[in-house]
């Protein structure tokens, strides 16, 4: 079945075990908080957009009364890619902020290395659905406060309190427009996820 003289065939070993080729980090948060800006700032190409269409079979949260039965809900996700090595690609998915899009979240969160909840201190409540979701599903996450001009600067522990975060959840400031800042955010969530992973591994092994 392999006619292509490419290295990609090597990824499936003799045992059939798959090498890791693609990993993802989720960028969550409320509408207009800068998710796509952050994705674009660190990605190697401009953000791409993909859509998931929810057909009526899964619609239970939307009120469809009075609307034709074939109504669908479309959720758009912006995402970007960073090629780490030839064999390893990191994808960043901006996840729609409303909790009624849970069906997309489940798919996005599956196998994600971690998540960034992007926060705007003027609308902190917009973070609640994301924080709730990741806490409930055990996805390691950090909160990155996007520093909008004109917004009052909060102390980071005030954000922790306002969002009732576990003290172990890192909170940091960022500027979603800046590539270096975006990279710091991604490194922070990966380091947090790695610590969480090691703790879980140690508990499970013991």
């Amino acid at each position: 079945m392999d006619y292509e003289p490419s290295d990609s065939a090597d990824r499936t070993g003799a045992s059939g075990e798959l090498m890791p080729t693609a990993v993802k980090i989720l960028i969550a948060g409320g509408f207009g908080v800068g998710k796509t800006t952050l994705v674009g700032a660190v990605s190697e190409t401009r953000p791409l957009r993909t859509e998931e269409v929810l057909t009526e079979e899964g619609v239970s949260v939307d009120d469809l009364s009075g609307i034709e039965t074939k109504t669908t809900t479309t959720v758009a996700m912006d995402f970007g890619r960073i090629s780490i090595t030839d064999d390893l690609v990191l994808y960043l998915f901006g996840t729609p902020g409303q909790d009624r899009f849970w069906f997309v979240w489940d798919e996005l969160a599956l196998g994600a290395l971690g998540a960034v909840v992007l926060a705007d201190t003027r609308r902190l409540a917009d973070c609640f659905p994301s924080v709730d979701y990741f806490e409930k599903h055990g996805t390691p996450f950090i909160v990155a406060v996007n520093c909008f001009e004109g917004a009052r600067q909060y102390q980071l522990d005030e954000v922790t309190q306002a969002l009732s975060l576990d003290p172990g959840v890192p909170v940091m400031l960022c500027d979603a427009r800046r590539r270096e800042s975006g990279k710091e955010v991604l490194i922070a969530v990966l380091e947090h996820a790695m610590r969480t992973h090691r703790r879980v591994s140690a508990t499970t092994a013991g």
């Binding site: 006619y3 693609a22 290395l113 790695m194 879980v200």
Partner: protein, 128 residues
Amino acid sequence: MTEYEEPPDVHWVDEHAGPVVRPYAVTRGRARPVTGKFDLVSQVSTARTVASQDVGLGPEHLAIIALCRRRLSVAEVAAHLDLPLGAVRVLLGDLLERQLVRVVEPRPTPVLTDDSIFEQVINGLRTL
């Protein structure tokens, strides 16, 4: 920005008008792929060229085969074709069944005893 390279008459319907062809028409009414799971970040690459016996392929199938000469994720294929993910999964299922594409699924979660993936990505990001 250099997004608009085609002549203007190509874009007589803009993105706000919605799809000209309904997604389920592209998949001929099918909602599920015949085979395969196709995670958002599953990597798809073209496995062989289309031969004369490969009947029944639509223009979208051929577009995927052309696109995936370079390895791409399912999400990227959907974005480039401007089709919903569900429709793209159905099309990919057709291609996988005919062994026209090769698909590598991501590992579901990092293996418990192995956290090297985190270090690899962190180190990669630092050197960018």
